[in-house]
Amino acid sequence: MSEPASALGGAVSEGFARVEEMPPRGMIALRGDLGSGAVKAAVKDALSLDLPGTWRATDAGEAAVCWMAPDELLLMSSYAQAPEIARKLGHFLAGEHHLVADMSDARSLFRVTGLDAREALAKLTPADLSPGAFTPGTFRRTRLAQVPAAIWMRDDTVFEVLCFRSAARYMFDLLTEAAARGGEVGFWPD
């Protein structure tokens, strides 16, 4: 089998925040009634994680469950495990109204790290990234400049950005420019 490759081969740029393209990660789209016990039980069975609240993510190690919409979750795992997890979910939810799809190759993933990573991202999105509103564990789909994206705050200095793979080069250049030295804003003191 061919080796999975990320769109930009793990490109890295250093500014006041570090921008790094992450290696491929397993991503499974799960749609269904999130209020039903079946979806909750299926996610617990597949990843041993609880469902996140609105615009939140729960994670443990490589596994994560991210809230995408009132009826949609994005499940993360290692790239290699994703097909098996998707199969298990489909099996578990048989008979329930649902959709499970292994979308691991659909998106690109970036990591923005640094004390001022929040400021680099805030330049690009209309979402409220203020420290009081956007806290560790927040997962928010929004727009970064011209493209749809999701921002996931892993901890105080680590953000992950997802976008469609076709926009990977655009997103990398955008983040690099926003995090370039000399472009610090200093709106939120550390």
């Binding site: 609105t54 615009w55 995408m68 919409a69 009132p70 949609e72 209309p126 979402a127 409220d128 928010r140 789909r141 929004t142 727009r143 749809p148």
Partner: protein, 109 residues
């Protein structure tokens, strides 16, 4: 710039995160309807000066369609409500009446 509250995910979404969906509460007449009725469904719009009801989609967010009531003159937003209804909720109509006495939009007052 409009900021609309998405009734599904609770975000106060910036207009640039939304996609406009045109006028709200259009009624498509059945297969036996006259050409005039279909013409009205396709082309005739309120285009009001004042209170207006629209459809919007939280396109770059949770992806859901919803309704919004706003004033086309002042850009004041009266409220937003879910898409699965054929008319605005009563409390929203009352709130609009309090702010714009005597308003009328199609058959809603």
């Amino acid at each position: 710039m409009l900021i609309l509250h998405c009734p599904y995910c609770g975000v106060d979404a910036d207009e640039t995160e939304l996609a406009p969906g045109g006028e709200a509460h259009l009624v498509r007449r059945g297969p036996e309807a006259s050409e005039d009725a279909f013409h009205d469904y396709l082309f005739v719009r309120e285009n009001p000066r004042g209170v207006h009801f629209e459809r919007w989609r939280h396109a770059a967010g949770c992806g859901k369609w919803f309704h919004a009531a706003r004033c086309t003159v002042t850009m004041e937003v009266f409220g937003t409500y879910p898409a699965q209804v054929t008319e605005p909720p009563a409390d929203l109509l009352a709130a609009i009446s309090a702010k714009r006495p005597g308003w009328r939009w199609r058959d809603f007052t």
